[in-house]
Symmetry: C2
Subunit: 326 residues, 2 copies
């Protein structure tokens, strides 16, 4: 079982994450062999496993750490993430995910829709098997509901030139940050952390998720196809305008309108011009600065957590993923 290479320098966490994948494998058994194969490839296609990693680390802050429970909760969150990825790929009509053909592109929307649904249910199945209270499940489902509401919000804002920074932040808060926050919170409650500690974990996850998503969105404007394994400027073409573009548009909207009005029909020349305009208005730099603010907030909250080996790892990991090269 091969994890993303980044985990080699976190041997204990790497071992736990391998067990997370084993738990996921055990819980996903689809009778259609081809689809089963495809989902299992997705499990092993080198996803970063950040959400389960944070859940596992946060499981060390409570008084009642039980490895199996922590691993299971982490697995449920990764399965939820996989479900949203599969449905995102249907919606975005993405041909590739982690360098592999997506389920919808290989087998059609049919399979992708139901496979995602199936994974949502697997997530709840694992959660309910390992939660010790209905309240936890209710809390999780309320939050997963918010994540999906974030997806619907993103749809609603597509191709909207007037989208504001505030709206952008609210959208990623409801999507990525919500899932990071839920992961941290669920990790903490899996070890019966007291309520105020679980809320701290939630906040850390929120800041992490905000920073992570802003950086991810910046990468859509800065990285090349080969480096990222997915088409660059994909979001822009899909009408999902993220922070670098929003910051730049704030300076000179009239220059952007004629380009963006071509929607998914923008030519390579249009895209190059768009990138130049964003550079001219320092959209990427400004977005990156905001990401750094969130990173610092996360780091500050992490520094207040109880001491322990896990805390050092938490600091190192956060530093590593949130200072990705742009």
């Amino acid at each position: 079982m091969q994890l993303h290479s980044m985990w080699a320098s976190y041997p204990d966490l790497e071992k736990d994450l391998k067990d997370v994948l084993k738990t996921i494998e055990k819980n996903i058994q689809i009778r259609d062999k081809r689809v089963n194969q495809n989902v299992h490839s997705l499990i092993h296609a080198g996803g970063k496993l950040l959400r389960p990693a944070y859940a596992l680390l946060m499981a060390e802050i409570g008084p009642d750490y039980e490895r199996e429970r922590a691993v299971s909760v982490a697995a449920a969150l990764e399965v939820l993430h996989m479900a949203t990825l599969i449905h995102d790929d249907v919606v975005d009509e993405s041909p590739l995910r982690r360098g592999e053909p997506t389920i919808h592109s290989r087998y059609g929307n049919h399979y992708a829709v139901y496979t995602g649904d199936y994974l949502f249910t697997v997530c709840f199945k694992i959660l309910s098997k390992h939660s010790d209270s209905i309240q936890n499940i209710e809390f999780s489902s309320r939050n997963i509901e918010k994540i999906l509401m974030g997806e619907l919000d993103q749809m609603r804002m597509r191709y909207n030139l007037n989208v504001t920074v505030k709206e952008y932040l609210s959208r990623i808060s409801g999507k990525t940050a919500q899932l990071f926050a839920l992961s941290c919170y669920s990790g903490a409650t899996a070890s019966k952390a007291p309520r105020h500690m679980a809320i701290k974990a939630w906040n850390i996850g929120h800041y992490l998720g905000m920073a992570f998503q802003i950086i991810d969105d910046v990468l859509d404007y800065t990285s090349t196809d080969s480096g990222l394994g997915k088409p660059v400027l994909n979001d822009v073409l899909q009408g999902v305008y993220s922070l670098p573009l929003i910051y730049a548009m704030r300076e000179q909207k009239p220059a952007f309108a004629p380009l963006l009005s071509k929607k998914s029909e923008m030519s390579d020349a249009d895209l190059n011009l768009l990138l130049e305009l964003i550079e001219q208005h320092q959209g990427v730099e400004k977005a990156f600065e905001l990401a750094q603010k969130y990173t610092k907030k996360a780091q500050k909250e992490i520094s207040k957590l109880p001491e322990g080996d896990y805390k050092e790892i938490l600091e190192r990991l956060t530093n590593e993923i949130l200072t990705r090269k742009i």
Copy 2:
């Protein structure tokens, strides 16, 4: 609030079902006004509400009937049903549902996929709020998982001329019958029915669901567009071969193969020929006979339930819906 006219003759149940719809309304709040509107229309578009009705009736067999809990569980099951309908419409590319344009046809796959996901989560949220044990949630999620597996199986069997009666029954058992069974079971456990009674309720739901789905499939071959509010022979065109066709093909497969090989390109003349062949081999009659067998099994099990007003209603309702005109 207008329910399907069939409920007028069941005034108590009608009152409870109205509260089921109110509970659903209260729990579904989508910020996108248009989508919210569309989902709320779906709630009121005259769905038969059979699953919640059976859940409500079965809630009377346990010793601890609590109206609010029974209504909530019934609502969760109808929300689950709505989620699967919305995703089914994406997969089948159906333009209409209950006489209204479907979400995917009006707003695109994007909205339909996420709206369905959102409803899945709402179902779990309601269930967890009103279940009194994790075991119930776990049981529900395991069964919802099986329903989705049934959907995936249906996909796998599409356009397969060699599909057997056994495979067909296993497919509808995993899909419709599973949801009817879960509805009856959940109703029973909502009033803390002892395990052996809950299992009885499960079995009744299973038989009901089998009969209901076979009759529904028969209607695809016998009813006209206006009567059913959806295109007739839709399933055949989508490659979903159901019981009347399977029975007829068993008699003379070579006659069907050239027609069916045209898949969704079958002309009106082809479809008429297909109907004639099915008539010739009495596909509809044989399917209807099997439905009656399941209906009788359900009725027999219902007759063994503890006496009470609910039981009479259960018998009348079952008689009414399972002797629909074909």
